[in-house]
């Protein structure tokens, strides 16, 4: 949420974001529950997590309406562990 946005107008999209977050979480849990594995599955689950993190940063933390470097701080952070985890899983499947 951003400090200068009309506050009431934020509730509906943030509620929709909340529903998407819950849905992606249940899908992730379902993948784990089904015992699915493999590089593609792992990277898909990680991509869900990164998307969820991006939504939290943009809508709940309020970075969506911020200018400059702070706008991208959560996205940049997500890419660091996301990239390293992807690399590690890629290498473990390759070896």
């Amino acid at each position: 949420m951003n400090g200068i946005e009309p506050t009431r107008q934020l509730i509906r999209p943030c509620t929709l974001v909340y529903a998407v977050l819950m849905l992606l979480t249940v899908v992730t849990w379902g993948i784990g529950r089904a015992g699915l594995s493999g590089l593609g599955v792992s990277l898909t689950v990680l991509a869900f997590a990164m998307l969820k993190g991006h939504l939290i940063g943009d809508w709940f933390m309020g970075l969506r309406g911020v200018r400059g470097i702070w706008r991208w701080v959560v996205v940049a952070w997500l890419l660091i562990p996301g990239g390293l985890i992807s690399l590690a899983f890629f290498l473990s499947y390759r070896s």
């Binding site: 200068i4 709940f60 562990p81 390293l84």
Partner: protein, 204 residues
Amino acid sequence: MSNDMKISSATPGDAQRVAAPNYPPGDLAIWIFILAELLVFAVFFAAYAFTRMNHVELFNEYQATLNRDAALINTLALLTSSYFVMRGVVAAREGNNAFCARWLWAAVAMGVVFVVVKSAEYAHHLGAGVSLSTNTFYMFYLSLTFFHFMHVILGMVILVAVAVKARGDGYSVEDHTGVETGASYWHMVDLLWLILFPLVYVMR
């Protein structure tokens, strides 16, 4: 540093977009702290993933001993608490301290759910004789999740402090930086768990 100074509104809830701010909501100091925390956890996450490379079978075997249902409940609880905190910030921006406090107490209740479920998980593992020295997987599992657990506790303390102040009419349309600051910290706690959950409980 607050964005509130840039709001030009005649009535609460009637704020108009004037220009995108240069800084995120809340005090800038909390964002420096958040960045430091995020980087520390990024190192932990990478360490887990690269250590796993050399112990894939061990990690997969012991990951299967974790309770994914508990992790699901905890993830849903944290996401719900983040949503409640967002509603609390909206209420504070509109000058509605009573609603702000209620949403924050609801968020704290979701935090309590997380703490209870996670404590039950720890009790189960510790009761089974699991410790940091049991094996590499459990070392990462216990240290990573407990480090995060401590952040949840701190986040709840912050939310309680903000809720108490809101209940005492301590915020206004002009000055609610404290609510945004506490909210930003809590969202960070949620953000960290969103990576931790799939990495430790699901990815194999």
